[in-house]
């Protein structure tokens, strides 16, 4: 059975079905529907909902619930995410699972509430202080949230690390038909680190302060090795008409949807354009991009920012290959026709160049 639901509400429902029993959040547009949905749904399901006094409090409540063994989540939008970074850094240092949702809006500063992809760097580079990484998942449709959200909780538990779901104002606000039939009951993860009271066992401590530099370094190497395992095992992406593509569009989330619309038009004109859509923004799908370059393809990176992911594409190509970039910052949503025009211009220019 499909229901017409907003991305925000569907995300909340998927979280509850994935075993999220604790939600803490502070209202900010454009993700308020998620907080409102959880206010009703989580207590119904027997869980905990608190409208916190700030984003800082919310992420720290998540940390408390996580260390107590619960699946916990918070959500916000760009300015609020900046406040949460302190807590995310502690979650990473303490090796505690959590899911954090960012429905990005135009920035910097207060910016505006229009959909944007300007928090890519913040999300994929750790975001807060210290050497750490978070897995970043970028869904492109309301239905895809029903896969991304349970995955986010599983990855958080599997690696004991915060996981970010990076959406945008449009994904949050937009309603689409959605079915939750694919969500299975959550897996049980052994949690031998949680605080329950030291009943019948030695007391435990969870901390991130390591005075001894050797100990701190070893802890950081341990985290680093964990991030390496994530890079090896958790890269996810989607491709569209890639096999014969002479130009490969790289776009994610809502941007990838718009790009897909453009590519369909380009194909009608017999232009061989395909797409790689990163689903994990970190770890970044560098390998498939490199392979596409080896097949001679050029790249067209499209973002709703002034250019952030394009740097990861450049890193993936290690300076080789041709990359074109088109971005619209500030919450402007380009149309498929606009992209169609820009891509075909680059396509014809480079075809002429080759002759």
């Amino acid at each position: 059975m499909k229901r017409l639901m907003s991305g925000n509400a569907a995300l909340g429902e998927a979280a509850v079905l994935a075993g999220c029993t604790c939600y803490f959040g502070y209202p900010i547009t454009p993700q308020n529907e998620l907080t409102e949905y959880m206010a009703k749904r989580v207590p119904e399901a027997g869980g905990v909902f608190i409208q916190s006094e700030s984003e800082i409090a919310a992420i720290n409540m998540v940390l408390g619930a996580s260390v107590a063994g619960a699946r916990a989540m918070t959500s916000s939008s760009s300015p609020g995410m900046s406040l949460k970074q302190e807590g995310i850094s502690y979650l990473a240092a303490d090796e505690l699972p959590a899911v954090v949702v960012d429905m990005v809006r135009g920035g910097p500063g207060m910016g505006n509430i229009s959909p944007a992809q300007s928090d890519y760097f913040q999300a994929t580079r750790g975001g807060g202080h210290g050497d750490y990484k978070t897995i970043v998942l970028a869904p492109g449709s309301v239905q895809e949230l029903t896969e991304i959200v349970p995955l986010a909780f599983d990855l958080a538990d599997k690696y004991r690390n915060p996981v970010i779901i990076l959406g945008d104002g449009m994904l949050g606000q937009m309603m689409e038909p959605v079915s939750f039939d694919n969500i299975k009951p959550p897996k049980e993860y052994p949690k031998d680190y949680i605080l329950t009271g030291a009943k019948g066992r030695p007391s435990r401590m969870v901390r991130s302060l390591l005075f001894d530099t050797k100990e701190e370094e070893e802890h950081n190497w341990k985290l680093f090795r964990k991030y390496q395992r994530m890079e090896q095992n958790e890269v996810r992406y989607d491709t569209f008409l890639l096999d014969d593509a002479e130009m490969v569009v790289i776009a994610y989330g809502i941007g990838a949807r718009i790009a897909k619309g453009a590519i369909k038009r380009l194909r009608q004109e017999n232009l061989k354009v395909g797409m790689i859509r990163p689903i994990t923004l970190w770890p970044f799908p560098a390998k498939i991009i490199k392979e596409a370059a080896q097949n001679g393809a050029e790249f067209f990176v499209f973002e709703m920012s002034a250019g952030q992911m394009v740097e990861d594409v450049k890193l993936a190509l290690e300076g080789k290959g041709r990359i074109h970039f088109y971005g619209r910052p500030g919450g402007v949503i380009p149309t498929p026709i606009e992209l169609f025009r820009v891509i075909s211009r680059h396509y014809y220019q480079s075809r002429r160049g080759k002759k």
């Binding site: 017409l4 547009t29 454009p30 509430i113 606000q173 718009i258 149309t335 498929p336």
Partner: protein, 179 residues
């Protein structure tokens, strides 16, 4: 076929509900559909609008920069959204309160006196459903019969009591538009 429609008007005229009803009906028909409300400060300013995209294939963007149809329930919406219609597009106007003399010459204008029609039915509240009925006839976007048959599901539990009235309103609007 991908068809994009903008529904617009004052807050309180049931504009979002019109779009939501259409989106729900299209979903039941098995179409791809997106519904995007305008949100934020704009919503509090008294005007409201939403965009519904109905398609036989995956929808690239839920935004309508060049919509096929516009429904305008008040004067400011008429002024604002007639200009985004491409040539040959259709704008359905609540002629009870909208003066359409300034309409562009290259678009089609369907005037529906929704307030008067609604008052005849006893309540101004159904003006939006009358307009939706008229719009569905004019646009021929989805099956009207299928929609009426599933009206309870489409409108949801909250409006179940009003089901009969809503059906009459939809039918009245549908009948108002001549072939």
């Amino acid at each position: 076929m991908t068809i994009k429609t903008i529904f617009s008007g004052f807050g309180g005229q049931g504009v979002l509900s019109m779009g939501f009803t259409l989106a729900n009906a299209a979903m039941l028909e098995g179409k791809y559909v997106t519904y995007l409300p305008s949100y934020g400060v704009e919503v509090r300013g008294g005007t409201a609008n939403c965009t519904v995209v109905v398609s036989d294939e995956e929808i690239a963007s839920p935004v309508a920069s060049e919509p096929e149809f516009v429904v305008a329930m008040n004067q400011p919406s008429f002024a604002r959204f007639q200009s985004v219609l491409p040539s040959g597009g259709l704008i359905c106007v609540n002629s009870s309160i909208v003066n359409t003399t300034s309409a562009r010459g290259d678009i089609e204008v369907l005037t529906v006196p929704t307030s008067e029609l609604a008052e005849k039915m006893g309540t101004i509240k159904v003006a939006n459903m009358i307009m939706l009925g008229a719009f569905l006839k004019a646009s021929n976007m989805i099956s009207f019969d299928l929609m009426l048959n599933n009206l309870q599901e489409i409108l949801g539990e909250g409006k179940a009591k009003m089901i009969k009235l809503n059906r009459q309103a939809l039918e009245a609007g549908y009948a108002f538009v001549k072939e």
